[in-house]
């Protein structure tokens, strides 16, 4: 028999009690958004008394997703070496016919447009997929080739098994560069002209239980429209910085394509959009308070994705309330913001989970082990040194807009360079002139430098990797990049010739 604690003001609520209420059909459930309103109007004490469960939801791109698939044995049997489903290569981590299909794996035929996420969606929708496999052939598994078509009903197991999902919050992305960049945070316009963010803020599952009191291994959740489970903390779980993540598992055969969708992020690759909802049992008054968190209290950094480094520059802090308003301020300028995860779907997920619980279709399960709250996210140990622009750049040969073409031509010869950077009195970049531009000017009889300066110049910064800088030059078919600081001041120049020399060494 359970003993009631009488020492405190109120007895604490238990998951068993909540499940009894669910069974009887008199459980009190609110979505996280409704909970804030109740706490605001009636206070934490009343909210704790009245509410048993708060439901949360998020629907966003979750790249570290994938599915475990067991094909069943062929006759004669095969021990798969490599396999493809709809031309997307699956990895083969285990015995004969077990496959793991990663969401970001791209199709050999339509890379960037079709990938593992789409295959998972197609299978869930009941579509037929083509399976192709090769093997080396053994005495017990003689078959070396396999071609077949399958639907989800033909599979033994078809489970979503995701290493890292459901970030507690995420950075807001913007771009300092002078060109559009395509990132996993979407399409970012030049010079901070837009920003993107991900996550549902007040509806975010982990944000509503930030100390992971009720979330851990064994917690039953809404996963892709079905019931799934948390199987541990996700990879890169970083609780101290409120970047908690989850590892989850769920039965794809029961999932609803409305809540699990393959996606293509232009020039980044394919992924899987997934809906996750977690019920938070209000076991104590503290949880009632925590689930009343407001968007204005959830802060995140504005991060410059224009700098492709592990530590990207932070430009400031912003709240989810500002992010959801559609515009934020970066460098004193109003900038439009795109949410990348669907706030509408997040709300639908929290509401669906609420109705499941109210209709006795979903029972809560407490964690058998809680998520770590004190682990640290480590960077990669690297044994190979990576070169950055500042290791190859050298002082640029410069001129001003008022110089004569002849003067510049002389400078090109005396300093034996091909590129002269045009700068103003403060050293700020104004353009570039190449020996080819000078040759062309002479041929066309042009005398003034201002007529031949190339004003639209692609640039780099000292801490950009050489690989990224070379990529930029190759993409735009140019042979040099001025190196500038964040104010546009010229610091030097790098040329593709110098990079090639370095590589050749």
């Amino acid at each position: 028999m359970r003993e009631k604690k009488t020492s405190g003001k109120r007895s604490k609520r238990s998951i068993t009690e909540i499940n009894e209420k669910i069974k009887k059909g008199d459980v009190q459930v609110l979505t996280a958004e409704e909970m804030k309103k109740l706490v605001e109007s009636s206070g934490v004490e009343i909210a704790y008394k009245e509410v048993d469960v708060v439901t949360t939801g998020t629907f966003g791109a979750m790249c570290s997703s994938g599915a475990i698939i067991n094909l069943g044995h062929s006759d004669p049997p095969i021990k798969i070496h490599r396999a493809w489903i709809n031309d997307v290569e699956a990895c083969h981590p285990g015995a004969a016919v077990d496959l793991y299909l990663g969401a970001t794996m791209m199709s050999d035929i339509k890379p960037f447009e079709y990938g593992g996420g789409h295959v998972i969606e197609d299978l869930i929708m009941g579509k037929e997929v083509e399976v192709r496999a090769v093997a080396s052939g053994t005495d017990c598994y003689p078959r070396t080739k396999l071609n077949t078509t399958l639907t989800k009903d033909d599979l033994n197991q078809f489970y979503l098994l995701n290493f890292r999902n459901c970030y507690q919050h995420y950075a807001c992305a913007t771009n300092s560069r002078d060109e559009i960049i395509y990132t996993y945070m979407g399409k970012l316009l030049p010079k901070f002209r837009n920003a993107t963010f991900s996550g549902s803020g007040v509806l975010n599952p982990l944000m509503n239980d930030p100390d992971y009191e009720t979330i851990g291994i064994g917690t039953r959740i809404f996963l892709g429209g079905a019931q799934g489970y948390i199987i541990g903390e996700g990879t890169q779980h970083d609780p101290r910085n409120r970047f908690g993540t989850l590892m989850v598992r769920g039965d794809c055969k029961k999932m609803d394509p409305q809540f699990i969708r393959g996606a293509s992020i232009t020039k980044y690759g394919t992924t899987l959009y997934l809906g996750i909802g977690i019920p938070i049992p209000i076991l104590n008054e503290g949880l009632a308070k925590k689930t009343a968190i407001l968007d204005e209290d959830i802060l995140t950094n504005i991060v410059d994705y224009g700098v492709p480094r592990r530590e990207r520059p932070k430009l400031g802090e912003v709240s989810y309330e500002e992010l959801k308003s559609g515009a934020i301020v970066i460098n004193d300028k109003k900038v439009k913001v795109s949410p990348l995860s669907s706030l509408k779907k997040a709300r639908i997920i929290a509401e669906t989970l609420k109705s499941w619980i109210e209709n006795s279709l979903f029972y809560l399960s407490g964690p058998v082990e809680r998520l770590p709250t004190d682990m640290v996210l480590k960077p990669m140990k690297q044994t190979e040194e990576i070169a950055f622009v500042n290791t190859v750049m050298y002082d640029a040969v410069t001129c001003t807009e008022h110089d004569e073409i002849k003067e510049v031509a002389n400078r090109i010869i005396s300093r034996s360079v091909n590129h002269v950077i045009v700068a103003d009195e403060q050293g700020k970049l104004k353009g570039i002139v190449t020996s080819w531009d000078i040759t062309k000017a002479v041929a066309e009889g042009k005398k003034k430098l201002v007529d031949i300066i190339v004003r639209k110049v692609l640039t780099t910064t000292p801490n950009e990797s050489l690989e990224a800088a070379s990529r930029k030059m190759a993409q735009h078919q140019i042979s040099a990049l001025p190196v500038i600081d964040h104010n546009g001041k010229v610091l030097g120049i790098i040329t593709s010739e110098d990079i090639s020399k370095l590589r050749g060494r």
Binding site: F59, K187, N194, I265, T266, K336, P339, L343
Partner: protein
């Protein structure tokens, strides 16, 4: 007002054709969007519907290819209201409604000369489509 798309080839791009048409017909033409360089270009203009036919003739006579711009269309079956397209729209034709649904206003959309949102959609729900009528009212 009617929106028409003017395409200029490399041969005629340096001629002041738009200005000439305005002077000749004494009709205000507002430029909504323009992309031009030495290889040619496109200008999206808005003209009074009463003068549209005359102006189209005048542009065509000067070698300009005149078409109705394609506008975007959002496939509501595919779209899951993420909003990735929002911040890319220069004319705020795409917005989020109170319930966080993505709303599209075809009267504001400048269509094919812009197309910024098209490749930002993770489920390829945005397509450029021919307009059925002769442009908006």
């Amino acid at each position: 007002m009617v929106r028409i798309l003017l395409k200029f080839s490399e041969e005629i791009i340096e001629k002041p054709i738009t200005a000439q048409v305005i002077l000749e017909h004494k009709v205000p033409i507002s430029i909504v969007a323009a992309h031009t360089d030495s290889q040619g270009g496109e200008i999206l203009v808005e003209v009074p519907s009463t003068h549209a036919e005359r102006l189209i003739d005048a542009f065509r006579k000067r070698g300009v290819t005149v078409t109705v711009p394609k506008l975007i269309e959002i496939d509501s079956e595919k779209c899951f209201d993420c909003g990735a397209c929002l911040s890319l729209c220069p004319v705020s034709a795409i917005s989020l409604k109170e319930d966080f649904s993505v709303a599209f206003d075809d009267k504001k959309c400048i269509g094919s000369p812009c197309s910024m949102c098209v490749d930002a959609c993770p489920v390829r729900a945005i397509k450029l489509v021919e307009q059925h009528s002769s442009g908006s009212k």
